[in-house]
């Protein structure tokens, strides 16, 4: 019922800035879609076009089965939560939440009922008489959510709603918004530049860069099979390590040759892809995530693993884990290993990784070499 269809959507701002470039996306009912990408990539612009706050330069936007390009925001059946909450400072929490319903001429007792209900879900019943000024950041955010809820929209739009909160509260509100999504059973479209938020909340994630969609996928697929180096680098923390290697043939098998002479084994599937793409004797980029590098002194892998010898330059203890900053060839890299390791600063270390965990990218196009 609350399906959403964005068809060839473009946005060119006055002055010629192309903020969104040929955006195509189909959102199913009850999905939690997260738009993610670096600053200025056009996330907010996309969201604001869906809301109707920004005109669509070209393309078609459907909410439900209705073309809404020229429909006023209030008639689109959407609600929006803003980064700075955008509460009405001169109204009490109750009035803030009731404002939309009042304008719709909903009967008073019904307004009261709906506001109370929403307030109860959000745990802000005791704040209904207060002005926004007298609320903490987290409480304001809840009021903003409540104001959106009482309108019972088909689609919830949220633009970085948690970025003004401190780290701890952000984590807490993250789960609360996820719960709210499960409870309300409506479509959510959520903008953030924080990949952790995207990975933990989204049922599907849209990764954008310079106004162009890079990949639309589930969190797991984005993580396992990024389509290009940008997505691979954007998803995951700490960032994935990229190492330039040359594809060479060794006793009939394709292997990856590092500059220091180390040869890395490649899975059969990857070998096939490399042969098909004619990568023999060419340089490709190896991507390996920090959490897939294991300290050989504590984690022995049984088979199909590669090892790299290097030296620890910096250590960062994170609790259960320790980040070892090393150089792999010349590329600064991070290994995220169990903190029970004995490896210390400036120690020589051997890092293992399973060859199924390797990601390979074309050096020029930066696209994944896939099988």
């Amino acid at each position: 019922m609350a399906k959403l269809l964005l068809k060839n959507i473009n946005k060119v701002y006055a002055g010629g800035v192309k903020a969104v470039d040929n955006f195509n996306l189909e959102v199913e009912d009850r999905e939690f879609i997260v738009l993610v990408g670096p600053s200025g990539c056009g996330k907010s612009t996309t969201l604001r076009m869906i809301a109707g706050l920004e005109e669509i330069s070209s393309g078609e936007l459907y909410i439900g089965d209705r073309l809404v390009n020229d429909v006023a925001p209030k008639d689109r059946d959407i609600a929006m939560v803003f980064q700075n909450y955008a509460l009405y400072p001169h109204m009490s929490v109750f009035e803030n939440m009731a404002f939309g319903l009042k304008l719709k001429k909903v009967p008073k007792d019904e307004i009261e009922k709906k506001v109370k209900e929403a307030a109860e879900i959000l745990g802000i019943e005791h704040l209904l008489d207060r002005k926004p000024k007298a609320l903490s950041g987290g409480q304001r955010q809840r009021v903003a959510l409540g104001r959106a809820m009482v309108r019972e929209p088909k689609v919830f739009l949220m633009d970085e709603p948690l970025s003004n909160l401190d780290a701890k509260l952000r984590v807490q509100m993250r789960t609360e918004i996820s719960k709210l999504h499960q409870r309300l059973k409506t479509t959510f479209i959520y903008v953030t530049h924080d990949q952790t938020e995207a990975m933990t909340m989204g049922t599907r994630i849209v990764v954008m860069k310079d106004g162009v969609i890079q990949q639309v996928d589930t969190p797991k697929n984005l993580y396992d099979n990024p389509v290009n180096m940008f997505v691979a680098g954007f998803i995951g923390s700490p960032q994935i390590n990229f190492i330039d290697v040359t594809v060479v043939e060794d006793e009939g098998n394709l292997v990856l040759l590092m500059k220091n002479g180390t040869k890395l084994k490649v899975s059969d599937k990857h070998q096939r892809a490399l042969r098909e793409g004619k990568y023999l004797n060419k340089t490709v980029v190896l991507g390996i995530r920090p959490e897939h590098l294991h300290d050989a002194s504590i984690d022995a892998l049984s088979s199909n693993f590669n090892s790299i010898k290097t030296k620890v330059e910096v250590t960062e203890l994170m609790g259960a884990e320790i980040y070892l900053h090393v150089k792999i060839d010349t590329a600064p890299s991070i290994a995220r290993v169990n903190s029970k390791t004995e490896t210390k600063l400036f120690d020589d270390v051997t890092l293992h990784f399973h060859y199924d965990k390797m990601l390979l990218f074309d050096k020029d196009t930066e696209r994944a070499i896939s099988f």
Partner: protein, 280 residues
């Protein structure tokens, strides 16, 4: 320790300075009060009194019982209130437009206000006289309301625009999504939020015609339209020697409504003056 001494010294001098400034403003006011409540005749007496030697309210009674006093008061009020309502309405609407909409000539329009503010008002007097005559509204309330409104528009628009600029756009957008029309956004969101700025702008505008003498003196020849300032001065000057006691009593009566306004809106005035620069 050293920092603390330095702090104390700077505290001392700051306050000394403030006290001197207060005295400088207060002494003339005290002088006026003394003269109004004393039986003396001369304002330029050489003796300095701390309190009235012969306290009396005769001067006030004389002013209040003047046959034209009520007329003058009414006129002043009509001029001041008319100017305030007329120019505040126009200024609020245009300040909102300047703050929120993009249109050709926006920058030029705003700049022209600044240029207007830099011109001495006297430069406009002759053309204004001619315009008033041409329109055939000489000696009418409208004539001076228009002139005073024009004089205050620049300040009012800039002040209100500055305030509107500090109201985040997302608040309006939230209201639009909530279903408010453009007009409702203006009346239900922007105007209530701009109350402090509206209050201070209104008081500033109101003060101008209320305390003016020169403009009304030039434009009004019909005694029935005289303002309080004009009437009182003309009357006080009619005595063989100017009756300063009466004159000062009149001044105090004139200043009273303004004083009350300032006191009532004090909270807003301080807000309205400072909030323009601070991003909320």
């Amino acid at each position: 320790m050293k920092g603390k001494t330095k702090e104390r010294v700077s505290y001392f001098f700051t306050h000394l300075f403030l006290i001197i400034v207060c005295l400088l403003t207060f002494i003339p006011i005290w002088w006026v009060l003394l003269t109004a409540f004393d039986k003396r005749v001369s304002l330029v007496s050489t003796e300095f009194l701390i309190y009235p030697r012969n306290p009396t309210v005769d001067n006030f009674i004389q002013v209040l019982s003047h046959p034209s006093f009520v007329t003058w008061l009414k006129n002043s009020f009509i001029f001041a209130a008319g100017t305030t309502i007329f120019s505040l309405t126009l200024a609020t609407l245009s300040a909102y437009a300047y703050s929120r909409f993009d249109f050709p000539g926006k920058k030029a329009g705003l700049a022209s206000y600044v240029i207007y503010m830099m011109l001495p008002t006297t430069a406009a007097l002759v053309p204004q006289l001619l315009i008033v005559k041409y329109l055939g509204i000489k000696n009418s309330y409208l004539s001076l309301i228009l002139i005073w409104s024009a004089a205050n528009m620049a300040f009012a628009v800039w002040n209100l625009k500055g305030y509107f600029d500090t109201i985040p756009k997302s608040i309006e957008e939230a209201a639009i999504i909530d279903g408010a029309s453009k007009f409702q956004v203006f009346t239900m969101i922007m105007l209530p939020l701009a109350k402090p700025a509206l209050a201070i702008t209104a008081i500033f505008i109101f003060t101008a015609p209320w305390t003016d003498y020169a403009t009304s003196y030039l434009f009004l020849t019909d005694a029935s339209k005289y303002t309080l300032a004009q009437g009182l001065f003309g009357w006080a000057a009619d005595f063989k020697t100017v009756s300063w006691g009466v004159f000062c009593a009149g001044s105090i009566i004139m200043a009273l409504p303004l004083t009350v306004l300032y006191l009532v809106f004090q909270k807003y005035i301080i807000n309205g003056l400072t909030v323009g620069g601070v991003k909320g």
